[in-house]
């Protein structure tokens, strides 16, 4: 009698730690095809195509510069408002898009997830990666302005920390995805949380140095209690590092940057565990 071999066991036990990491590794092609699908489908039958990726942050930046920067006087000191707001807006948009787009992983893809099995994490990962396409278009747009401002010499001081920008982007994507999959796991049964996402994200942006320069605010002076609380927002040190590297404005608080990374790691792990716990039976409740 030969020993029967099994390659896969579909278990009834529902453990969060039972993740299909091995399967995920074989899914590189699938992830890239999903990224491509998202990109192609998004801009098909639009005249401007990927240019739309620029239009949204451009107008946001214009509005921020005029109203927050000039009228309310919340802008940066020493650098032009436009590049200050543009840099903040595009990294914030990357984070916010990763969060909102992955937060409805289960609900938006129930048709396909209900029919075939592939490691479920493929879906949010490819969603997060596809946010980078739009981001890099915006990033190139920002670099154009950066070059312009450097030529006109208005006080921008790019420095060696510019090299850390891939790390910042990676961290924000992981953080956004971590929160997103957490929400998607929690919304398979109750959709209430999905309602919170859109306005929650915009409220969050006001708690982050996107529409104002935190270092020109006396209330947020380093060392104060309010500063310490404010810096616990994991997005804040990341945006600060990004701006510091490219524009030379503000400062980087490495202690809080470390805390921000720790938060990111915790959020990502908890998110993945919650996601893995709910992915097995979400089809029954979604």
């Amino acid at each position: 009698m030969t020993e029967q071999k099994w390659t896969t066991v579909v278990k009834s036990s529902n453990s969060a730690f039972d993740m299909d990491i091995k399967g995920l590794k074989n899914c590189k092609d699938l992830i890239m095809l999903f990224v491509r699908r998202t990109f192609v489908a998004k801009y098909k039958q639009t005249i401007l195509g990927p240019a739309w990726a620029i239009i949204q942050p451009f107008f946001t930046t214009v509005v921020y510069s005029v109203f927050f920067g000039n009228i309310a006087g919340l802008g940066a000191s020493g650098v032009p408002n436009f590049i200050f707001y543009l840099s903040g807006t595009i990294v914030w948009t990357l984070f916010a898009n990763c969060l909102t787009e992955t937060s409805h992983t289960f609900t938006a893809n129930s048709a396909i997830l209900g029919k075939v099995y592939f490691p479920r994490l493929v879906m949010p990962i490819s969603t997060a990666i596809s946010q980078f396409i739009g981001f890099f278009i915006q990033f190139a747009f920002m670099l154009c302005f950066l070059v312009y401002y450097l030529i006109t010499d208005v006080g921008l001081k790019p420095n060696i920390f510019i090299l850390m920008f891939p790390l910042v982007l990676f961290q924000l994507a992981v953080l956004g995805m971590g929160f997103g999959i957490m929400i998607s796991a929690l919304t398979t049964k109750y959709r209430d949380l999905a309602m919170v996402v859109s306005f929650g994200v915009s409220l969050w942006s006001y708690c982050s140095p996107v529409a104002y320069d935190m270092f020109s605010r006396s209330q947020l002076a380093p060392g104060s209690i309010f500063y310490n609380i404010y810096m616990l927002n994991p997005v804040t040190p990341a945006i600060n590092l990004f701006r510091y590297g490219f524009l030379g404005t503000g400062e980087v608080d490495w202690l809080f940057y470390g805390i921000s990374w720790a938060t990111t790691a915790i959020v990502a792990v908890i998110g993945a565990l919650m996601f893995s716990k709910s992915e097995k039976t979400f089809m029954d409740t979604v």
Binding site: M1, T2, Q4, K5, W6, T7, T8, V9, V10, K11, S12, N14, N26, C27, D29, L30, L33, F34, R36, R37, V40, A41, K44, Q45, A111, I112, L113, G114, K115, V116, Y117, F118, K189, Y190, D192, K280, T281, F282, M283, D284, T285
Partner: protein, 426 residues
Amino acid sequence: MEELAIRVEHVSKEYRLGAIGGATLKGEIQAKIAKLRHKENPNLKIGEKEHNKNERFLALNDMSFDVKKGETVGIIGRNGAGKSTILKLICRVTAPTKGNIYLNGRITSMLEVGTGFHPELTGRENVYLNGAILGMTKAEIDKKFDEIVEFSEVGQFIDTPVKRYSSGMKVKLAFAVASHLDSEIMIMDEVLAVGDVAFQNKCIDRMKKVAEEEGRTILYVSHNMATVKSLCNRCVVLSHGQVAFEGETEEAIAVYMADDNLDNTTFFDTSHAKRLPKYGQKHLLLNLHMFESQSTVLEYGDKFPFRITWKSGNADDRMLMKMVINGIDATPVGVIFGGELKSEKGINSAEFIFDTSYLVPGKYTVDVILYDQYDSGSILYHDRATALRFSIEHSDKSLKLKHWFKDWGNAVLPCIEQIIGDDKNV
């Protein structure tokens, strides 16, 4: 021991009935808190117990079966028997509540054709995307691409967005992708229900080829008994979430068809049968009685008398009866015409003799149709709900049917006469 491809071991799947969770978030939190404090759930009605059995529904109830490697197994059963649920579990779309399922090899599921087709992408892009969703790598699809396109018959449109495709083209392309995958186990749920006849036959041939030449395992779910018959060598019949029968296809289909009519009565009450208004309400067939038979199980060649009783609104002498005999898979075997039936106002009856010697052993159902002989044969009474059921058995193995073979069909036609002697040169 033959190698197994799938083992389903004591699998149960439970669903909660009614609204999701049957409660609000608030109610559920209250219940959780109460549980933590070892108190009763405040939202339960007095006397109601936690985990009320009535709120739960067992779609699968302790189901077990094995599928050997290289087998083509049909899964049949009525709606709600648990066919789709077990396939979903095998495909890992959702997890069982109890029990485990063991799989040996990669799985491709074709639960619904075109899963993951994106309307904006072209046929080519969708082939890659769909293939990847079903578990192939890009390199594997590259290798099979030409074969897939050729099989799908949509080569001309391969660079057109799929949203411009007709539904038939989508189906063809999707089937082509799924059937060219290198997976060891293929799962198909009613996939052949679409597409034209030529393509359906092509699909079945492809499936047979996949099963026989490439030695892959196929699980096939369908209500179309003809395709089940031609494709599967073994069937599992499901009923109420359990395996009702497991074995040879022919027998399994018989079990499935007989699922709801195991009663052995010779009196068939048709008075409550639903009738379509377009057939008129002038005459109503009340019942049909095989008044001399003890049982609906007959011996091959038996003749049995039966009586039909009907109610008429008016006297009528233009009515005829015909009976359509159907085989076990609801394919018509033939028709029998009866003579003129005279109706008085009120209850009428007529007796006939049914000669079964034209039917081979098997299970049959009979539709009784009353129609008007002058008014261009318009139907006066017709009910698809079968009026009569019987089965013919064959115990003494008479000469003619000694080696009766299912592929011969269900009807034995009258003899052909042999031409003898001088007539030869006519």
